[in-house]
C-alpha cells in the first residue's frame, strides 16, 4: 500500500475515534448523557472509555508522522487493539447480560433476549469493523513482504 493511501486511512480512522472520544469525556464531565441515532454516549465508566478512544485516535493520527514504515503500522495496530478491548468487552457484556432472566425466571424470554441486541451502542462498537480491516491489511501486507 502506498504511504499516501495509508496515511489517508489513518487520518480517517483517527478522526472517527478521536471525536467520539472527546465527546464521551465532555459528556462525563458535564454529567449528561446523549444519544445520536444508534450511538449512545452513556453508561458506567464512560470517562475511561473516552480516555481510551481519545488516545487511540491520537495514536492513529500521530502515526501519520512516523517515517518508519514499521513504527507507523505498529502504532496503528496498538490503537486498533485498544478499540477492540473496549468494543469487544461491550459485546461480551451485551451477550452475557442477554441470557439470564429476572423476576422469578431463570432465563430471558426470547423477546427479551433479542431486544438486548438492538442499539443504541457505545461509539467503540461502530469502530470495530474498520479497525479490524486495518489490522488485517497491515499484517497481510507484512506477510506478503516476507514472501
Amino acid at each position: 500500500m502506498k504511504q499516501k493511501t495509508f496515511n489517508f486511512i489513518l487520518i480517517l480512522v483517527g478522526a472517527s475515534a478521536l471525536i467520539p472520544g472527546i465527546l464521551e469525556l465532555l459528556f462525563t464531565l458535564t454529567g449528561k448523557t446523549f444519544t445520536w441515532g444508534e450511538i449512545a454516549f452513556q453508561g458506567e465508566f464512560m470517562f475511561w472509555r473516552g480516555v481510551v478512544l481519545l488516545a487511540s485516535g491520537v495514536f492513529y493520527l500521530t502515526a501519520v508522522y512516523h517515517t518508519s514504515r514499521t513504527e507507523k503500522r505498529a502504532q496503528a495496530v496498538l490503537a486498533s487493539l485498544m478499540i477492540w478491548i473496549v468494543g469487544g468487552m461491550e459485546i461480551l457484556s451485551v451477550i452475557l447480560s442477554s441470557i439470564p432472566g429476572d423476576g422469578g425466571r431463570w432465563f430471558n424470554s426470547t423477546q427479551g433476549f433479542f431486544s438486548s441486541y438492538t442499539g443504541p451502542f457505545i461509539p467503540a462498537i461502530f469502530l470495530l469493523p474498520i479497525s479490524l480491516v486495518l489490522v488485517l491489511l497491515i499484517f497481510g501486507e507484512e506477510r506478503k513482504n516476507e514472501g
Partner: protein
C-alpha cells in the same frame, strides 16, 4: 577445575563466534508493538485500556454468574428452603448454621450454610475465576512484565525508587506468592520492605473480586487510597530502614499468544486451590464469628474497641465482627462489611481498615517462613508489627480526617 569469569567469557566469545550467526534482526510489527507497550506515551494509554478491559470483563462475567444465577438461586430457593427445613429453630446450633430465620436475602442471614456458602460459591468463586482468567492471559502473553517495566519507569520519573513491581503485581493475585517472590530481591532491606508493604497495602485477587462485585462504586477510591499508602510508607521505609536498595532489573520476554491448555491448566489449579483452601476458611470464618457472638465475645470487644472505632476511625463498632473474620479471609470480611448499615464513606474507611489492619493467616505464615531469609523472624515480625500499628493508626485515622474535612462523615 574452575575458570575465572573473564576467562570464561573469553572462551564463550570464541565458541559463539564459531557457532552463532546473528542475521540482521528484522524489526517486525510485533516487536515494535512490544516496544510501544513499555514507552510511557503509548504504554500508559494502552495500560489504561487493558485495565478498563479487565474491569469490563470482570463485570460482565461475574455479573452473569452472581447476579444472573447465584443470587436468585440462593435467595429464592436455597435460603427459604433451609430456613424452613432446618430443625431446632431458636437454638444456638440453628443460629450458627442458618443464622437469622427471618432474613430475606443470603447476605443478611449470617449462617454458615446461608451467608457462608453464598459468599464462597456465589460471590467469590465467579470473582476469582474471572480475575485469574484475565491475569493468566496477561501473564502468558508477556504483558505483565511489560506493565512492570512501565510502572517502574513511571515511578522513577516521579522520584520513587527501589520498589519491586513484579512482586507487587503478583500480589494482586494472592499475597502469598507475592511475598514468596520477594526472594528474588537482592538485599535484606528490599525483601523486608516489600514483604511488609505488599501484605499491608495490596489487596489480593479474592478481595479485589468481592469489592468489584459488591461495592463497585467505591472500588476506585479504596484502591487509590491503598496505593497512595503503599508509596507513602514505601518512601518512608526506604528512608528509615538501614541498608541499600539497588535498582531492580526485569527481563522482558517476547509477546506470545497464550495457549488454551496452559491457561486452563493454571485456572484449574487456582480453582482447585480455592475449593480446598479458601472455601473451608470462609465457612470457618462465618462459624467463628457466630460462635463469638453467642458467647458474647463480639459484644464485649465491640464495647472495648468501640471508642477507638467511632472516635479515631469514624466507623461503627459493628465492624468488629468482620474484622475478626478478616484474619481468616479478607474477601469474607468485605462481604460482611457490605451487609452492615453505614454511610458510603464509612464503608470505604472500614474496607481500607480491613485491608491494612493485619495480613490474612496464609500471608502471615508466609511472612514468618520468608522472614528467616530476610534478617531473622523476630526482626522481621517486630518490624512488621511496628509498621503495621503505625500504618493502621496513621493511615486509617488520616482517612477519617479527610472525611471530616470533606464533610462526608
Amino acid at each position: 577445575m574452575k575458570l575465572e569469569p573473564e576467562e570464561r567469557w573469553r572462551l564463550i566469545d570464541r565458541v559463539a563466534r564459531e557457532t552463532v550467526q546473528y542475521g540482521a534482526e528484522k524489526t517486525t510489527i510485533k516487536s515494535t508493538l512490544a516496544e510501544l507497550t513499555v514507552k510511557p506515551f503509548t504504554g500508559i494509554p494502552f495500560a489504561i485500556a487493558i485495565l478498563y478491559g479487565f474491569w469490563a470483563f470482570f463485570n460482565a462475567f461475574a455479573g452473569f454468574f452472581t447476579d444472573g444465577f447465584f443470587v436468585p438461586l440462593f435467595d429464592d430457593l436455597w435460603l427459604p428452603w433451609i430456613q424452613e427445613a432446618f430443625p431446632l429453630e431458636g437454638s444456638w446450633f440453628y443460629y450458627i448454621l442458618v443464622g437469622d430465620p427471618a432474613a430475606t436475602n443470603s447476605f443478611e442471614a449470617f449462617g454458615i450454610l446461608t451467608s457462608g456458602l453464598f459468599v464462597a460459591v456465589g460471590v467469590v468463586l465467579p470473582a476469582i475465576v474471572a480475575f485469574y482468567l484475565v491475569i493468566t492471559v496477561l501473564e502468558d502473553s508477556g504483558y505483565m512484565p511489560r506493565l512492570a517495566v512501565l510502572v517502574d519507569t513511571v515511578l522513577h520519573k516521579i522520584g520513587l525508587h527501589g520498589f519491586a513491581v513484579v512482586p507487587m503485581i503478583l500480589s494482586l493475585g494472592c499475597n502469598v506468592p507475592g511475598v514468596a517472590s520477594t526472594r528474588t530481591l537482592e538485599t535484606k532491606k528490599q525483601r523486608f520492605m516489600m514483604m511488609i508493604l505488599l501484605s499491608i497495602f495490596i489487596p489480593c485477587g479474592a478481595q479485589l473480586g468481592v469489592m468489584l462485585s459488591l461495592i463497585p462504586e467505591y472500588f476506585g477510591y479504596i484502591m487509590l487510597y491503598l496505593l497512595a499508602g503503599f508509596f507513602v510508607f514505601g518512601w518512608i521505609l526506604n528512608k528509615v530502614v538501614p541498608g541499600s536498595s539497588p535498582e531492580i532489573m526485569t527481563d522482558v520476554p517476547p509477546f506470545r499468544i497464550p495457549t488454551i491448555s496452559n491457561v486452563s491448566r493454571k485456572l484449574w489449579v487456582k480453582v482447585k486451590g480455592f475449593f480446598t483452601n479458601a472455601i473451608p476458611f470462609v465457612l470457618l470464618g462465618v462459624g467463628l464469628v457466630n460462635i463469638l457472638y453467642l458467647v458474647g465475645a463480639i459484644d464485649w470487644l465491640s464495647n472495648i474497641l468501640g471508642p477507638v472505632f467511632t472516635g479515631w476511625f469514624g466507623i461503627p463498632k459493628e465492624t468488629v465482627a468482620p474484622l475478626i473474620a478478616g484474619f481468616l479471609r479478607k474477601d469474607l470480611a468485605v462481604a460482611q462489611l457490605s451487609a452492615i448499615e453505614m454511610s458510603g464513606f464509612q464503608l470505604i474507611t472500614s474496607v481500607v481498615i480491613i485491608s491494612i489492619y493485619f495480613p490474612c493467616i496464609a500471608t502471615f505464615s508466609m511472612i514468618i517462613k520468608e522472614g528467616r531469609n530476610s534478617g531473622g523472624v523476630l526482626k522481621v515480625l517486630g518490624g512488621s508489627l511496628l509498621t503495621l500499628v503505625t500504618v493502621v493508626f496513621l493511615w486509617g485515622g488520616l482517612l477519617h480526617l479527610i472525611g471530616m474535612i470533606l464533610g462526608v462523615t
